[in-house]
């Protein structure tokens, strides 16, 4: 089962900081993140990829759903 986190409405750089903390706790698995700006989508993606996660982004009504998963199953 994946975990979910909603960082919409948070000001920069809190979305990426919040997701980073969550990923450090999880260590592996799948995290679904809701973000409302392109900047946060890009920052979270960059951080996650650079710390060894895979990211898939989907745009939904001007907002974004990021599926972050660990590379090792």
């Amino acid at each position: 089962m994946s975990e979910k986190i909603d960082v919409r409405g948070l000001s920069c750089p809190l979305p990426v900081v919040t997701v980073r903390k969550k990923l450090l706790e999880m260590k592996n698995g799948v995290l679904e993140v809701l973000v409302d700006t392109g900047t946060s989508r890009d920052n979270i993606t960059r951080m996650a990829v650079n710390t060894g996660w895979k990211v898939e982004a989907k745009e939904e009504d001007g907002e974004y759903r990021l599926i972050i998963s660990s590379k090792k199953k």
């Binding site: 000001s11 920069c12 750089p13 990426v16 900081v17 980073r20 392109g38 900047t39 890009d42 650079n50």
Partner: protein
């Protein structure tokens, strides 16, 4: 309890500027006063307004106000004042007198923070040779601080932001990256040695010696909210001539340690916005990684001066800048003739 100034604010420093395209739109609706005494006004996004009193005397007038970029209130006061005073220096002027402008949340009653902010500002005005003469305050949710500054300039020696000449060399006097570092401070991942470096540069006055100002400087501006590329674009596009610039990426001074913060997602909305607006002007002649490229768009608070100077005098200028404490000043490129849409060539 540790009180963190940056937790009291949303966007920080010059990254909190209104979108330049929207700003242009609003400003175009304001009726502009044409008067031959007004040597610099709205027309080419000058750093400050200049009013000619007589043949030998001009007044430089500017106002700047920013949100916190560091947590320490005294340091923030120094940075905000240095940033405000910079606009006078960027016109070739000398500050005479300044007024505080401050927004602060009354409800929280953290007036000791406000005391420190104002003290930091007052110390910088004194260091710049100006007099602090009053101010104005507003009760506001987010703290903000800055100065309105009046300075003096010889009207014949005003240095505009849009008067570079083909063949000029471009000098940048401070390293880039302070916007990314303040985002990393807010994200609580910034290391002390990197923050110290950023604070050192943000609190360094952009005051140049008379000897430097008397060199053949054709154009001068400070690099702030629109990032290096944004301010370069103003310099060439608003010149009214067919000018471009060729910039060497390896020569652009950057504060050590910022690439790691970029990889950890510490890029401000302001940097992404600047990139979106100005990247259509950029021609990349080399492969640029995201982190190297985004630094060129990073909004700088109290950033360095961008000097367009006669190539004959560039060596002397660099030598003097180094003597005056701008130890990381570098020649970053050259002004060229260009009709191309992509007038900023990165090599």
């Amino acid at each position: 309890m540790i009180e963190k100034l940056m937790q009291m604010t949303r966007a920080s420093g010059c990254a909190a500027k209104i979108n330049p395209k929207d700003l242009e739109n609003f400003l175009s609706k304001i009726k502009q006063t044409k008067d031959k005494r007004l040597l610099a006004g709205f027309e080419h996004n000058e750093d400050a307004a200049v009013y000619k009193l007589d043949e030998n005397t001009g007044i430089v007038f500017t106002l700047d106000l920013i949100t916190p970029v560091v947590n320490d209130p005294y340091t923030f006061g120094q940075i905000a004042a240095t940033n405000s005073l910079s606009d006078v220096f960027a016109m070739g002027g000398k500050p005479l007198m300044a007024l505080n402008i401050v927004c602060f949340p009354e409800e929280e009653r953290k007036y000791h923070l406000l005391d420190m902010i104002l003290q930091g500002g007052a110390d910088k005005v004194a260091e710049a040779g100006g007099l602090l003469a009053g101010g104005h305050s507003v009760n506001d949710k987010e703290p903000k601080y800055g100065l309105a500054v009046v300075g003096l300039v010889d009207p014949k020696k005003v240095i505009y932001n849009n008067t570079p000449e083909v063949g000029d060399f471009l000098i940048l006097t401070k390293p880039l990256g302070v916007g990314i570092i303040s985002t990393a401070i807010k994200g609580e991942i910034a290391e002390k040695r990197v923050v110290d470096k950023a604070v050192f540069w943000m609190t360094k006055l952009n005051k140049l010696s008379q000897e430097l100002l008397e060199l053949n400087i054709h154009s001068l501006t400070d690099v702030t909210g629109f990032g290096l590329v944004g301010h370069l674009s103003e310099m060439i596009l608003l010149s009214g001539k067919e000018l471009g610039v060729e910039v060497s990426i390896k020569d652009i001074p950057v504060i050590d340690g910022i690439y790691n913060y970029i990889n950890m997602g510490m890029v401000s909305k302001g940097a992404m916005r600047n990139q979106k607006i100005y990247s259509c002007l950029v021609e990349k002649n080399i492969n640029l990684s995201f982190e190297k490229e985004i630094v060129l768009f990073d909004p700088q608070t109290s950033g360095g001066l961008l000097i367009s100077i006669d190539p004959q005098q560039v060596e002397k200028a660099i030598k003097l800048l180094h003597q005056e404490g701008f130890a990381e000043s570098k020649i970053i490129g050259e002004v060229i003739k260009s009709k191309s849409k992509e007038r900023i060539k990165i090599c």
